[in-house]
Every structure is written in structure tokens, then in C-alpha cells.
Symmetry: C2
């Protein structure tokens, strides 16, 4: 079977399975999730053996060490996957929730019912645990899914897929509710992007290149995550110690995450209060500082920032710093250079925090808290399939609710419409 | 200036204006809307003169009569436009609504704030009143918009645009909050589709060709309305009189609307109870009937339906009719041939209505009520920018809320994250 017909079959099977899983009740979905967890535990040896094949291939192909690290499963990895599935099982079921049911003047009652999106296609890279995480979230939200992992994790993903299928069958669900693409053929991605009749939404999890390609080639709606160029603005009159602690934590608690701070903006009047100590703290942590002209006066460790620095997502121990005249300039800077991901103000001025909350157009807008909090777990969503930087549908961390939509339901007693 | 640079300027101006209108308070937006209404009244003569130019061009170009009818403004048309603006003014402001604000275990508070989408591009055809309707809705929801109307309404739209600009300026808002494309050059549409850096969402209002083109050519997310192949299923044990009245009203109250009934499905046991009378009623109304084999036994006026009939959106006095074994077959038929727009069950069986509500995956799912109720006014949304048949973001009638999104807001007291 060629790759086009294989993918078409996958799409058709997913569409058929999506109808079953959409109306499966919470208990059936819970049974499946628990059974998937158990199957992962029962198949420990098989999973480790498959993972070993991937690691050997990685070594043979000279894969870069950070990518190899992300590939390693191990006993700990398996336990984390199981914990992940059970965590999703324990979340509330978003499907079927009815809200805003109200009588209208015509006598009809109109409300909204939360429903699955249908079929979700997810394209991702190295980490094999994403296979289980994505499958669990899609299943719990009543969606069928088509998963296309990285070829470097092919054997691990295939072994995980086997456990998922076991769990689905045990709960009496079609095994096609979760389909892991069974080939490393690169043409499978192209074929997936063309399945607009069978796939309702695509979630690319990877670099900008992948995301651009998906938006460009596919007519299917996309939930995507572009850059995380996160800002922290230290406002006039802010608590100095709080500002410094939040700045350090936002940057340095973890560097390679999308919610890490990339640009620090400081109100003129605060520059001498916070920048010298931040210069010390960041230098001790080995964070390279790149500042505007005014910044250099207060941060001896900093070098001059170029215009590219303001638009950079470093994802590493580098921070750009700019002294700004006031809140207006800070908001303008964020509008110009930001990526609408996560931006924070440290302030004790009520009017300024309200303006920042209203005027900064980002998926997460924070007051007096580290940017590193911007994720699904910390927001109480339980788990996330990704963080969206889109404007429509879901913004920010996308949990179960973001994998559903609402339809209108109307209840009458025989009303007809006379215009 | 060539069309590419003109459209680029339009995009940049819209983006800049969107920041102003996003944070404009309700009172300013109300002032603008009322001033637009007043300007339309004050410019009655200019509007009618411009409309006359369009009508003369239409006559010269031999435009089809239905299109000419849609083009006519007249005093009544102006009054309707003014009433529409004032209706939108009177709706609640969706922007800034904060919901679900809750403390998290870390001490932070996380909630959601309703925010405008940013810049909305709308491409539409003949009716000039859409210019005012779309502008009012975008403005009230805090969005800037770029409006591209049909070339046959160019003079009318230009005159209306003048009134809108007057209203915006009177309220102290940038006149670029609403931009009506000032050229009939067809290349303007292509250029608009490429403005992904400046336009957040596109709403094409027109035929399938336009919608396909927009999805194909543009990377900008689309809120779209495809077909309205609406079904009514008359369940076993349904109230006969109710079923007949709803069937007749769903089809015949208005034929050319997207929520008009196109296919009637009747449970076997109900066929002899409802089909003969419906045969009479529809025949009197001049509705052509096309039925399955079983249908023909009960509907003498009907001719045999072909497979294409089940997938047809007639938008006229034609109805396809099928006798089905039971609810399962009805749901399968809708899944196979429907367009996920609006589908209804007439039933007095609790379990069956619940199954229909859950399992039919359409933007509007109705029980015991005419399909013709599926629109924004009847749903209490006040006014609609369109009806979405998409799965993500808004499904069904899209009112002010569908023209907004929610961002996360987080309030802390200096919390930092330690992993």
C-alpha cells in the first residue's frame, strides 16, 4: 500500500472512531486510560527493548546529545508516562457540559453543549512520552487522534502504541481511536496535511519550520505555538526585592522553556534600585546580559544590545535589558517585539496593573508573579497539549477544554418561526 | 500607489488602530456607534445618490434581478442600517469580562479575560448594508476591521464608509478602525489574504468558491460558513401534528436561507401518519418532493430521489424525504450527508432526544422546534456576523462573543516557581 492510500485509510478510520469516542461515557474513557497505564507497566521489557533500538540508531546516526537525552525512556520514564495517564484519568470530563441554557422570547430554550473537536492530528518530535500524553488528552476530551512522532523515536512510539491499543480494546473502544503513524516515510506528514475531510484540527509541536509548513500547506485549522519572547516590566514604585526575585526566577529557574523571560524592561526610576543587584545575581548564575545604553550604566557585566536582541527568543542563559521611560513605552515595546505568549508587570500601582492587564495582548498576562508559572499544570488545567499563541479558539496553555468546542442546543415544544 | 503597497498600508493601519479600539471603553464605542447612525441619517441624499450609481451600473452590466434587488438601498434600507447600528450599540460589551478567577495551590490567582481578536478581514458580496452591520459588530467587540465588499456595491459602500469614518472621528477614535477597501481592483482580495502579519482572522461571506479560495491561499485563520444541509428526523411516537407543522415551517417559512430544511427523515412507524398529509401540504406550497422508495408509497406527489439529492443544499422549494428504520439510521444518515450546520429531531422519547443531542455533531442540534430558528437573533446573540460550520473557535451563529477570545490573567504577590 502506498503512503497516500495508507494515510487516507488512517483518516477514514479516525473519522469513524471519532464518532464512537465522542459519545463514549466518562467511565469507559476512564477504563481505557487505566488499562493503558497498566499495559505500559506490563510491557516494561518490550518498551525498554524498543527504546534501546532507538538509542542505538541515534548513536549510529550521531544524533546530538540533547536529542538523545530526550529520547531516553528508562524505568523512570515509564513511570512518568503511567502517572501522566492516571493524572488525565482523574481530571473532570469536559464533554457534554451544558451551559447558558436560557428561555428566549419565542419560547425556545437555547444553550451550549461542550463537544469534542472530532479528529486531532498531532505532529511532534523526539520525546516518546508525548505519544502517551497526547493520546490520553485526546481520548479524555472525546477526540480520535492521529499521532506522527519523530522518526528517531519510531521504535519506542510503536511499542507505546501497542500498549495504547491494548487499553482501548480492553475498554471496548475501537483501537483506531488513537493511531500512531506506522512508518518513518516523510511523505506521511505531507499526506496528513491534506486530510482536510478527516482531520478537524492540527497541532504541530516542533520548530518554526514545521509550524510554518503546516500553516502553509494545509487547509486544516491549526492550533500552534510560535515563539515565547516573554517580557517582565518593573514599574515605578514596585517592591524592589519582589521585582528582583521575580526577574531572576523568570529567567533562570529553567532556561529552555517557552515561558522563560527573554527581555527585562525597567522603569527609569527603578533602574538604580534593581539593575545593580540583578547584575550581580545574573552574573553569578552565568547569565549573559545585553542592555540598552542606559542599562550599561547600571549593569557593568552587560554588553550593548543590538536591535535583533529585542526580537530574540534565546531559550538559554542570555537576557536583554532595556530601561524605559514609563508604562506606555513598556507596552509599546511589548507590542512591537513580543510574541503574544507571556508578559508580566511587577507593580504596586493599581491603575498601571489594570492598564497592563488590558492593553498587553498576550495569551498570558501576569501581575507580580514569575513568568515560569505560565503552563497548564500551574493554571489548574491538569495537563496541556501545548501552549497556543493563536488569537482564535484557545490562547495560552491548551488543556482538555481547548480540545473541545461548544455547539448550540435548542429545546422546544413545537415552536415554529413566523417572520 | 500599487495595490500591494495600498493593502500593506491598510493592514498596518488596521493593526495600529486595533490597539486603540481594543482598550476603548464601552462609552466611547457607544458614542461612535450612535454617531455612525446619525451620520447615515444626515447623509441620506448622498447615500441614495451613490446607490443610484451602483444601480445604473448594474443595469448597464445586465446584473441578474435577484442581485439587483439585494443592491437597492432606499429610505427603508437606510433606516434598517441605522436600526442595526443602534441594536448593536444596545448589546452588552463582551470585552474585559473576567471569569473563572481562582486561587491555585501555588498561591497565584488564575482567570480569563475576554479580549478582542484584533484585526478582522471580511470579504462579502452585493448587499451594502453588510458594510454597516460588519463594522458595528467588529467595533463593539473591540476589533479593527478591513471590509472588502462586492464591486457592484462599490459606490454605496464608499458612501457608507464616509458615514462610518465620521462617526469614529466624532468619538475620538482613529478612522482606520474600520477600513473599506477603496478600489474595485480584484487583486485587493489576493493581497488581503497575504496580510497574515496584520490580520488575525478572515470571515469570507459568499459562495463556496470564495471560501475555498480563502482557505487555500491564506495562512490566516478563517471563520467560515459552508453548506447548510439541514435535516429533520421524525422519531417513532412523535406528536403527529407537531411533526408536520415543524417540517412545513422548517422547509417553507423561507427557502433561500441556510437553516431551511433540505432532507426529511421519517421513522418507519411514522411514515403513514405524517407523509400523506405532508404530501398535501407541500404540494399546495409548490414544494417539489424527492423521496426514497418507501417514501413514494406514502407521497404520491414525490418522484424518486437520487444519491445526489441526499447531499444537496437546494436553497429552494425542493425537499428530499427518506423513510429510515430507526434513530440509528437517522443519525448515520446525518453524519454521512449532513453539513454539520443545523439538524432537528421531533420526538417525545427522552432517551432518543438525549442521544440525538449528543451524537449529532452539528453547530445547532434542535429538539421539537423549527430549523428556521437557527440564527443569532433567535439565539439571543443580538446580531451575527455569520454562521460558522467550523469545529474550532465558534460553532453556529457568531455574535459579539465569537468575535472575541479569552486570554489568561494571573495575579500574584511575588510568587516564584521552584520545580
Amino acid at each position: 500500500m502506498n503512503i497516500q492510500s495508507y494515510m487516507l485509510q488512517v483518516g477514514q478510520d479516525a473519522r469513524a472512531a471519532s464518532r464512537k469516542i465522542a459519545s463514549a461515557d466518562t467511565r469507559v474513557k476512564s477504563t481505557a486510560l487505566k488499562a493503558i497505564g497498566q499495559a505500559l507497566l506490563d510491557n516494561r521489557a518490550g518498551l525498554l527493548a524498543a527504546n534501546k533500538l532507538d538509542l542505538e540508531a541515534a548513536a549510529a546516526n550521531g544524533l546530538a546529545q540533547p536529542l538523545v537525552d530526550r529520547l531516553v525512556l528508562g524505568d523512570k520514564g515509564i513511570q512518568q508516562m503511567v502517572a501522566g495517564v492516571l493524572e488525565v484519568e482523574s481530571l473532570g470530563d469536559p464533554v457534554g457540559e451544558i451551559s447558558e441554557m436560557r428561555y428566549m422570547p419565542s419560547g425556545i430554550r437555547v444553550g451550549r453543549m461542550r463537544v469534542p473537536l472530532g479528529v486531532i492530528g498531532i505532529i511532534y518530535e523526539s520525546r516518546p512520552n508525548v505519544t502517551v500524553d497526547a493520546a490520553s488528552l485526546c481520548l479524555k476530551a472525546g477526540n480520535a487522534c492521529i499521532l506522527r512522532g519523530g522518526s528517531e523515536a519510531f521504535h519506542s512510539n510503536t511499542a507505546i502504541a501497542l500498549c495504547i491499543r491494548k487499553g482501548l480494546l480492553e475498554a471496548g473502544l475501537p483501537e483506531t481511536v488513537v493511531q500512531v503513524i506506522d512508518t518513518t516515510d516523510r511523505a506521511a506528514v505531507g499526506a496528513l496535511l491534506k486530510l482536510e475531510d478527516y482531520v478537524d484540527v492540527l497541532i504541530p509541536r516542533g520548530g518554526r519550520g514545521l509550524i510554518e509548513r503546516v500553516s502553509q500547506e494545509s487547509k486544516i485549522p491549526v492550533i500552534k505555538h510560535l515563539d515565547g519572547i516573554c517580557h517582565l516590566y518593573i514599574d515605578e514604585g514596585a517592591d524592589t526585592e519582589m521585582a528582583i526575585n521575580i526577574a531572576v526566577n523568570s529567567k533562570a529557574e529553567k532556561y529552555a522553556v517557552c515561558n522563560a523571560l527573554e527581555t527585562l524592561l525597567v522603569a527609569e526610576s527603578m533602574a538604580d534600585k534593581v539593575l545593580p543587584e540583578l547584575d550581580d545575581r545574573f552574573s553569578q548564575l552565568g547569565v549573559e546580559l545585553r542592555g540598552c545604553e542606559r542599562t550599561l550604566e547600571f549593569m557593568p557585566a552587560a554588553t550593548a544590545a543590538s536591535d535583533e536582541d529585542w526580537a530574540a527568543e534565546y531559550l538559554g542563559p542570555v537576557l536583554s535589558v532595556r530601561v524605559v521611560q514609563d508604562l506606555d513605552v513598556a507596552i509599546d515595546h511589548i507590542a512591537r517585539y513580543g510574541s503574544q505568549h507571556t508578559d508580566c508587570i511587577v507593580s504596586n500601582n493599581h491603575a498601571n496593573t489594570q492598564r497592563f492587564l488590558t492593553e498587553v495582548d498576550s495569551a498570558s498576562v501576569l501581575v507580580n508573579v514569575s513568568t515560569q508559572f505560565a503552563d497548564g499544570f500551574e493554571y489548574g488545567l491538569g495537563a496541556e497539549i501545548g501552549i497556543s499563541t493563536d488569537k482564535i479558539h484557545a490562547r495560552g496553555p491548551v488543556g482538555l477544554e481547548g480540545m473541545t468546542s461548544q455547539k448550540f442546543i435548542v429545546l422546544g415544544q413545537g415552536e415554529i418561526r413566523i417572520r
